[in-house]
Every structure is written in C-alpha cells, then in structure tokens.
C-alpha cells in the first residue's frame, strides 16, 4: 500500500492554508434539553475557538453533544425543548446568544452556513436546484432581476465544479446524480461567502469513493474561499484527513482538544486514547482492538465525578468524586487541553496500546 509518512508534507500544507485570526469563539456554552427524565445538559460547558481558514473537527459518539453544539452555534437548538442556558458564542466579537431570532436570521447563511448529514435529502424535492440556490442569494444580496440571479447561480455552480451549469439549473433534485447533489449543497453553503461552514457528518452515508470525492470538494471550496469549516464527525479517519485542530466530546463536554497531530500522537485523555486504539486500521492488521467496556452513561443516571470514570481503566478514587479541571500545554504544545485528574501528574500518559 502506497503510504507516505512524512510529517513535513503535512506541515507544509497547513501553512499553505493561510490560517488567520479567530473568527468564532465559543465560551462555556451550555445547552440544556428537557426530556421526560428531567432536564439534561446536552452541551455542558463547551469552549473552543475557530480561526479563519482552518478546519476544526468536533468528534464524538452519538449522544456526545456534537450536533447540539452545532445547532446551538446557529441558534437552531430545537426550541422549546432545548435552550442555551449559559456561555457565549462570539462571532467576530458579537455574542450570538444575545441576538434575537430576527437578527440571527441575518447571521445564518450569511455568516455561518451548514452542510447536513445527507446531501441527498437536504435538497427540497419540489423545487429546482437553481431555485434553491437562488433563494439564499436573494436573501443575502437583495432583490435582483432574473438574469443576474441566473448568472450568479451559474457562477456558483461553476465554483463547485458542476459541468454544464446552465442545464443543471432547472433540474429537480431527483434528476441529479448523488455527486451533483453534493455539489449543489456545497454551492448553497458558499453562496453567501460565509465565514464558517458547519459540516454535520456530511459523509456518513456515502460510499468510500464518493466520500473521497466529497472531501476533496470541501477542501477545494475551502482553498478557494478561505472559509473556516467546523467538521462534526464520529470518524477519526476524517479528522485525520481533513482537520487542523480537533475537540473530542464525551457526554456534552470537551474532554480533549488540540491540533490533530498532537492528539493523534499524544492522546492525553484516556477516552481519546481508547477511541484511537479501538478503530481498526486499514494500513496494518492489528491482532486485537482495544475495546472500551460498557457504554456512555445516560445523563439522568450520571453520578458525580468524571463522566468517563466508570469506563476508564485509569480511574482512581478521585475520578469518582469531582469532575476534573482542564489541563493545558499537554504534549508540550499550548492549546492541547484535556480534562483528566491523572494529568495533574505532568508526566502521566495513557500507556501505549500494543496491538
């Protein structure tokens, strides 16, 4: 198998991306959801930032709060069951949690846009693709005559490499191939030249070769427009391939975040460590996968202490008493953070799992 393992190449690419200042900063975000079992913290004090032009990954398992975090940023948490109960979401210094729905509508699409899980179902079946791309354009750029609108739509379709965009414009979604639909969704996402695109598990349902096409498309879009992407996924492979920095969510909290390389090379939180080791590798055969025992505890059954403690092989008494603080500067890099009591000991590390 043709594999290059040259860190220098990676470095080079990252720099080539022209990563700029911080665009979005989320501080101690708390989104609570009312369920039959009571109010549960779906997002439980999440803090991170995203710089211009970078790809920030949010990775975690179902129920970890990934999607709720994304929805909260867009202020689309399902009301009234869910509500933001604390924290700030600063977009260029403006706190989105303080904005009214009407003001938020000016942010959505224009400043932050989103790509959903399934490009196949995120187009409305009863409208033409041109219509759906144009809809956003008219909102962002005001009324315009049909001709200009059409020209702009075609321009956008060209940007996402749609062949013969003049013809595609009047197609209904069901008349297009899957790849075309992906591109159309991409065109909608960049139609307003947003600062940030949130991609919510955009490739989960795709085949490998199609996934590869799509990921390349996203990368192209980013290169062309310099947009920041928040990539929400459960797949470490995608993180490895696409992201600059990553945050690992577990039960509504970020347990570890940092650059992708730092995280992969020096996973500091036992959960991150376990996750990385429980994924079967394409590159080599492992004798036995690491497997994390049990499953995440539902919020209403949670005891005090670290949420991961009951599944953690390194847990000590303290882990069951209080939630650990966040430690910075792990693996010698600033910005590599993790929540684990064991990290009080600066030299402690989860022991490498020998497969």
């Amino acid at each position: 198998m043709d594999v290059k393992q040259d860190p220098a190449v990676q470095q080079e690419q990252e720099q080539g991306k022209r990563i700029g200042k911080i665009v979005l900063e989320v501080k101690d975000l708390k989104t609570y959801v009312r369920t039959k079992r009571g109010v549960i913290p779906a997002v439980d004090g999440v803090s991170f930032y995203v710089k211009q032009g970078e790809t920030f990954g949010i990775v975690g398992e179902s129920g970890g709060g990934k999607s709720m975090t994304a929805k909260s940023i867009l202020r689309m948490e399902p009301k009234p069951a869910a509500s933001i109960e604390g924290g700030e979401i600063l977009l260029d210094g403006v706190d989105l949690t303080k904005l009214s729905e009407k003001q938020m509508r000016k942010i959505r699409g224009r400043e932050i846009s989103m790509i959903f899980q399934d490009p196949m179902t995120s187009l409305n079946p009863v409208f033409t693709v041109g219509n759906q791309i144009g809809e956003g354009l008219r909102i962002y750029e005001g009324k315009m005559d049909k001709k200009t609108l059409k020209a702009k739509i075609i321009e956008l379709l060209k940007k996402v490499n749609v062949a013969a965009p003049e013809k595609r414009i009047s197609d209904y979604p069901h008349e297009m191939s899957g790849g075309m639909k992906q591109r159309a969704v991409g065109a909608i996402a960049i139609s307003s030249s947003p600062k940030i695109i949130i991609a919510d598990e955009p490739t989960t349902s795709l085949d490998l070769t199609i996934q590869a096409q799509y990921l390349r498309l996203l990368r192209e879009i980013q290169e062309k427009s310099g947009v920041s992407i928040i990539f929400i996924t459960h797949d470490f492979g995608i993180v490895a391939k696409m992201c600059d920095r990553v945050a690992v969510l577990y039960s509504g909290r970020i347990v570890e975040q940092g650059t992708v390389r730092a995280l992969f090379k020096n996973p500091s939180h036992p959960y991150t460590h376990a996750l990385i080791n429980s994924v079967p590798k394409v590159e080599k055969r492992v004798d036995r996968l690491y497997s994390i025992p049990g499953q995440p505890t539902p919020a209403w059954e949670r005891k005090k202490g670290c949420y991961f403690a009951n599944r953690c092989e390194y847990a000590v008494d303290r882990c069951f008493e209080a939630y650990p603080p966040t430690f910075d500067g792990l693996s010698g890099t600033e910005g590599h953070l993790a929540d684990c009591w064991r990290l009080e000991d600066k030299t402690w590390k989860p022991k490498p799992y020998l497969a």
Binding site: R105, T121, P125, F127, Y172
Partner: protein, 306 residues
C-alpha cells in the same frame, strides 16, 4: 410511466366492471319496484303490465347484460319512478349540483385543514394546536344534519344573513358547504399535520433555515408544498365521504342534488336511477383515484413504480 398509466387504467376498468355487478344485484336486492311504485290498489294484471313495460319480466342475467351493454353507452333506461325521464340525464342534472356543492365544500375543507394542519404542526402542543384540532374535530363530532340545523338556526333564522335552504346565489352555498366540508377537515388536517411534521424534520427545511429564510417562508414555501401531497392522495376517499355527508346535508338544506334522489330512488326501487347513481358515483370516485395516481406521479416524480 406509460405502462404504469395503462396498468392503473386496466385496474380502474376492472373495478368498474366488478362494481357494476354489485350495483346491479344490489338494486334488485330489495324487491319489485312495482310494489312501491304502484298504488296499493293496483291489481296483479296492472302489476304485470308494468313489469313487462319495464322489462323486468326477463331473466336476471339477461337484464344484467342488457344493463351493461346500455350502461357503457350512458343509457340506463327510463326512470321507473319518473316515467319519461332518462335516468342518466336525471342523475347528471342532479349530480352537477352535488358536484358544485362538493367542490366548494372540498375547497373549504382543504383551506381550513391546511391552515389548521400547518399551524398545529408548527406550534405543536400550544393552545393554537389545541384549538385548531378542536375546531377540526368538532366538524366530525356531530352528524351533518344536526350541524346543518344549528347553522340554519343561527345564520338564517336568528341573524338572517344567509338563506335557510335551497339553491341559487353564492349565499346558498355557504352553510351546506361548511357542513359537508367541515366533516372532512379533521381527517385532512391530520394528513397535513403529519406531513408537516415530516417536512419540518427534514434536512431541506433545516437547510432553508440555515440559509436564513424567514420562518414564514420556510413553512409556506418549503414545507407546505411537500405537505400538500399526502392530502392529494386522500382525494378519492374524501369524495366517498363527501357523498355520505352530502345526502343528509342536501336533505336538510333542500339542495337539489342527488341526495334526495338517492333516498327516493332506493326507497322506490327505481332500478334505473339507482344503477345510474351508483355507476356515476363509482366512476367519478374511480376516475378521481386514477387521476390522483397519475397526478401524484407527476407532482412527486420520486415515486417509483414497482
């Protein structure tokens, strides 16, 4: 697509054929028309003469073949009860009045159901949802005739803003259409509501919201079009219900439609008219279902035909 249409057409024709058999024997189920139509004083000779006149002295299967042969040409014979009147014409004249009423009623039902359905889906579990549902269900919770009588008393006798009954101006349409249509609102509303839930849940609606489309536009442009489709498929069944309702409603509002005709014809064993009514109704319902199937395929081309 062509094959699909042909297949549906074949099914529709078969359904009609099977229906004709049922209708034919149903009409003969309840005895001789002579017993109802002739005065009690009539003699046997008188009776026999009438039976021969109407062709009822022939064997049943021959009557059936004659019936089918003529029915295909729209000839159901003369009404037994209204001699000299062509049964088919008689039905069609009345049917047009019923159709007018049904159309207005359907329009009313669809409008109200859409508004209630959409709002009660969007504002689920709110007072709006509750009242919307209440109004929708109320139309179903009392018999047509009673709602009709109540409306007559309120709007015609007390307030005098609408005519009590009869056919004529647009004002005559208001109350019967409400009565007939209201009964359908609940069912339609449920369809719209669940379709709206589906649409509201969909990613394309989320995408629209992310695009910054205003909530009203999300609801009325993106969800609404999709929520329209399921009620459409209900149109055929709805017609059936409309007929049930229109008969009692027409009697209360002395609407000159098929309602009274149905009642009188069946009670009078007016074979010709009963058959004409059933076949015309059945054909309309089958045709509407057929059209809906076709239309459905056009409106929502995602449908796959297996």
């Amino acid at each position: 697509m062509g094959k699909y249409i042909l297949k549906r057409l074949g099914q529709a024709i078969f359904t009609l054929f099977a229906m004709s058999i049922i209708v034919f024997f149903l009409a003969r189920l309840s005895g001789d028309p002579a017993d109802t139509l002739l005065p009690a004083e009539a003699t046997q000779e008188h009776r026999d003469r009438m039976m021969a006149l109407w062709g009822l002295d022939r064997p049943t299967h021959i009557q059936y073949f004659l019936f089918v042969g003529n029915a295909v040409r729209g000839d159901f014979g003369e009404s037994l009860r209204l001699p000299g009147r062509d049964a088919f014409n008689l039905v069609m004249v009345r049917m047009s009045k019923t159709a007018e009423l049904a159309l207005v009623a359907m329009l009313f039902a669809i409008l109200l159901a859409l508004v209630i359905g959409v709002f009660s889906a969007v504002y689920k579990n709110s007072p709006l949802d509750f009242f919307g549902k209440l109004i929708a269900i109320l139309g179903q919770s009392l018999p047509h005739f009673w709602i009709g009588i109540v409306l007559i008393w309120i709007f015609a006798v007390n307030l005098r803003i609408l005519p009590t009954s009869g056919y004529g101006t647009w004002k005559h349409f208001v109350m019967p259409a409400i009565v007939v249509g209201w009964f359908q609102v609940a069912a339609l509303m449920r369809l719209v509501r669940s379709a709206m839930f589906e649409a509201l849940d969909s990613e394309y609606v989320q995408l629209a919201r992310v695009k910054g489309v205003s909530p009203m536009k999300v609801i009325w442009k993106h969800c609404f079009r999709n929520a329209l489709i399921p009620p459409l498929t209900y149109a055929g069944i709805m017609l059936g219900y409309l007929v049930v309702g229109s008969i009692t409603t027409e009697i209360v509002f002395s609407w000159p439609g098929v309602g009274v005709l149905v009642l009188q014809s069946v009670l009078a064993r007016d074979y010709a008219v009963v058959q004409a009514i059933s076949i015309v109704f059945g054909t309309i319902i089958i045709a509407v279902n057929f059209l809906v199937d076709i239309l459905y395929a056009f409106i929502d081309p995602r449908i796959r035909y297996h």
